[in-house]
Point group: C2
Chain length 602, copies 2
């Protein structure tokens, strides 16, 4: 075997299946109908007996069915996501049956505007009907039916691929067990539509476009290249362009003082435009960008929440911090709608400088997330049970430090929680407490965590976790949607404890809070007698380097609860020497405390 | 007078002056020479007897000399910056003699590629030499010489206009008293070059471009429109596009399912492209964008610091938070280089959703800043003396609250500072302390402040102030560049007091720190006896809503100084009842303290 075929699915073939015949045309969202429809697709791995190992990959604007491996021994570059798909890779072809098909309207084997119109015997050109994301998903469904697939373990895609994943989860809720939408959105922003529109304008305005019937001549290469150049700028971030090109000149140290391309970034874009023209059809570009512009789940279904109300899959939403085309905010809108609907959703905002393209360029973090999510969807309980006690080892994180210190109160917190209840752990760290509660108390558990590494760790355990800063609020959670919310060793580190606690009291029937007691006798005496800011085992920091930006005592918290209208149902003052509650002078003798509180109903 | 002429400079004329003759060509940066050169310009107001009231406005890419007023009674829209320039406006034509000229290479009256080449008697087209920002500034200087101007009070411009302002300050340091660079940069980013390059590519690739000799035919209108559409997207922010257009459709509630422009943002861009083509020359677009791409002060002068080393003007740098074409980071690079050179610089990062275009759309904030800066450059001392005691009234700012509380220690701090020294006030608030020190002690004073309103207030007083968060560091300040740094009632509110204090000890010979004493007897007793987090007159906040995220005592600060290698030269414990130092049990009886510290040499 050639060297470059190792660690890949090897030589693969793009096959084509006719999923719609000429006689029995498919009705499209635009009102027209289309037939015949052929679909180009590739598969890797094998469908298992139970049929529960299908991973459907949906490609982005310029992609195609050739995801991984090589179409011939001579091919230099493997498929577009080879980095992620293959034996023992994040999407493991030893375990899963992977399918990807070319988008309807595309130009890589699936029926599109460059296909022959049976009525005219010439390429469709602009006579091709407008297609939508929903249409292409319907066509993919027909393909899967023909392939004998009864259920998708995971539908996954980035960018426009993520749009298809979202559409799958809504249109075929019983068919999809999990959906992974990466760097995606339920609707393009005005800015993204604007970029698409300028690109289309460049193609349509090219004098060689010839009304779309350019197939016997040169074609609108210049316009299509312009469109691709614009696209490429939007796929990168300002930072990644700075790192990659800066203001470097292509071939000289001196300015040439003419109008030709001269900066490296210019020649890079020229090259990208040129190579794109060689492999992509201008009409397909028009149709596919229009399909993206039209995609608007809330418009199709009334509201996003209404669209999501019937989905039944686990959902993973991933965004990229530096992605300005499909922004983290847009992913968070998906997250928020799913949370509002009470759906099972996990979210991670990957810190990366690579912009929208990071979904192709961050194999390590993204790979760990995808692998963890798909594997734990496939085999949830085994993995979770195996992981209890397997706390994340991570040296340089204050959060981990906190998680470690918090562990002493896991047992006590656990004792406060009833079996089979619904629990939110705010600042869930590596997910250890949630794992214990899910395994030991059969709770339905979810976490919120700020640290990316810990979020990835939770995903690997199969825990649903949302990557966010609770100081930003919890407004999308419905009132009383949890039986318990847990805030362990976190209250004193948030910016606005009042806002956070009020929100938790709203969304959960009971709120469990633990915090270090600043009123411990050692603190009191240190301030009184030594005149300096207290440092104890429980509060080990100096005044200027403490993550605890609020200092509170048990009495402070009692008053706080009263002020905010919270009942204190249980109060467990503890110290490192005594794991059971301290009854005598708790505000003096306890170095921390656990409270069980609830809304005051009265 | 017509209604629309009121509040404007009225009817104005664009004049043209020949500044370079055909016989005596001007040498350009590219090595070629050009002549004749005519310059189109407008002026408003009158040059005063002392000649110290000249304001030079430099226009941006698509601007021209027509800044304000109307070129005819029938003109519907006034000049491009009428909102800012006119009688009693921010740039007050009752006081100042305002000049603006069309850019060299432009198409609004100044010699450019559409001018007649004397050698061929035809328009230059692509025979026009490449021009640079430096060339256009040199041509502006020739114009000012012809107009009898001996000195510029203020050179001001946004975007490419700001590039010219920067070039003015460097190329003619003795000629410029103040420079105002708004939403500008000393060099375009790779991303901005990329957008320019795609725009030029669209023009050059238009089949009607005809090698630049399109003057007798239709011209590359489609390509130029595409370039302008791209530009327009970059001038707006994602947020402003969302607010302005969202996903609204132009003329129907339903999708039309065709490839025509349909979303409002599409038809807006179509319109912008179309109208631009009617008023702008494609060749000028190529030359001017290239001039912007080539502008790179560090490249021309070795480093930015070297470029700025000889400037002598006051400098104002303004950026827009949502500007992603000329980013705040790029403005901060200008700021940092000026600070490193020890120049007089003021910076404000205006909070606005309008993106790059905000420099045309934020008349209130930007107007106050420009007015304040120019007026206090023109007439510095009068304004400052008049303002002492005139503290900023502002209700809803914790910073103002702090500034108010700080005032009780102004006298004591002032007593520690020697006359005619150089002082940095970190967290300078409304500039009251600095005003007193400048007027009373003749110090050279600068401030740093986080709150935008307070920054604008300082600028109105003529105080040099930098709008920034000190938690981001002070690395660009040279070692020992101040005699005193003052940190009044701020140490306990910064994220990393150690980093901030170390930096202040590095950049100033002496550091004055004041803070509330958490070791005051009332605090001690409240914690000891009542068991809750202390609340006193000096520390009036509850544990959960305090801006003081660190609690320290006098003893803590003593130890902190020792640990960081700082000498405590003076320590003035005070209380609200006693304005002089408390000598007996200061860590118990003082409710705040002022320290004079210095680096430990030794």
């Amino acid at each position: 075997m050639d060297e470059h075929l190792k660690n890949s699915v090897g030589i693969v073939e793009t096959r084509t299946l006719r999923v719609v015949s000429a006689d029995d045309k498919l009705g499209l969202q635009c009102g027209k109908s289309l037939g015949p429809i052929d679909v180009a697709y590739e598969t890797y791995g094998a469908l298992n007996d139970s049929g529960d190992n299908v991973v459907l990959i949906c490609h982005a604007l310029s992609g195609n069915a050739h995801v991984a491996g090589f179409n011939s021994a001579g091919e230099k570059k493997p498929g577009w996501w080879d980095i992620m798909v293959g034996p023992s890779k994040a999407i493991d072809t030893n375990k899963y049956f992977v399918i990807c098909s070319n988008f309807l309207g595309g130009c890589s084997g699936t029926t599109g505007p460059s296909s022959i119109n049976p009525e005219t015997k010439k390429p469709y050109g602009l006579d091709f009907p407008i297609i939508t994301i929903a249409d292409t998903v319907n066509v993919q469904k027909l393909l899967l039916d023909k392939l004998g697939v009864k259920q998708i373990l995971a539908a996954i895609g980035g960018s426009m691929g993520g749009m298809q994943v979202i559409q799958w989860s809504i249109a075929y809720p019983d068919f999809v067990r999990s959906a992974l939408a990466i760097a995606s959105t339920t609707k393009l922003s005005a800015q993204a539509i604007a970029f698409d529109a300028v690109g289309r304008s460049a193609v349509l305005g090219d004098s060689k476009f010839a009304g779309g019937q350019y197939h016997d001549s040169e074609g609108p290469d210049r316009g299509l290249a312009i469109a691709r150049m614009i696209g490429h700028i939007t796929y990168l971030s300002e930072e990644s362009m700075r790192q990659k090109f800066g203001r470097e000149l292509r071939s000289s140290d001196d300015y040439r003082y003419d109008l030709n391309s001269e900066f490296s970034v210019e020649t890079y874009l020229d090259y990208q435009g040129q190579t794109f023209v060689e492999r992509f059809d201008a009409n397909s570009y028009l149709y596919i960008t229009k399909a993206m512009d039209y995609f608007d789940v809330a418009r199709d279904y009334g509201t996003l929440e209404h669209a999501f109300s019937n989905i039944s899959c686990r959902f993973l939403v991933v965004s990229i911090t530096s992605d300005w085309l499909f922004t983290p905010k847009q992913s968070q809108d998906i997250l928020d709608a799913l949370v509002t609907c009470g759906k099972n959703v996990t979210y991670c905002n990957i810190s990366s400088p690579y912009g929208h393209d990071a979904f192709l360029l961050e194999p390590k973090t993204l790979g760990a997330i995808i692998r963890g999510f798909i594997d734990t969807t496939h085999d949830p309980l085994n993995r979770l049970e195996g992981s209890v006690g397997d706390s994340h080892k991570h040296k340089h994180s204050a959060r981990v430090d906190r998680a470690k210190r918090a562990r002493v109160d896991y047992e006590l917190i656990s004792s406060l929680i009833e079996k089979e209840s619904k629990v939110l752990d705010v600042g869930c760290g590596d997910g250890e407490l949630l794992s214990r509660l899910i395994v030991g108390k059969q709770v339905v558990g979810e976490g919120i965590e700020l640290d990316q590494d810990l979020v990835v760790h939770c995903i690997g355990r199969g825990i649903s976790v949302v990557h966010r800063d609770i100081d930003e609020g919890l407004g999308e959670y419905a009132t009383d949607c949890f039986d318990y919310a847990i805030l362990s060793q976190t209250l004193q580190t948030v910016k606005d404890p009042e806002k956070v606690f009020r929100e938790l009291l709203r969304i959960a029937k009971k709120v469990i809070v633990s915090f270090p007691n600043f009123g411990h006798w050692k603190c009191r005496l240190q301030l009184l007698l030594k005149g300096h800011s207290p440092r104890t085992r429980q509060l080990p920091f100096r005044w200027y380097d403490s993550p605890n930006i609020h200092c509170l005592t048990l009495k402070d918290f009692d008053e706080f609860c009263e002020e905010l209208g919270a009942n204190v149902e249980k109060k467990i003052p503890i110290s490192k020497h005594r794991r059971s509650a301290i009854r005598f002078l708790p505000n003096i003798l306890a170095d921390q405390a656990i409270y069980l509180t609830s809304k005051y109903e009265g």
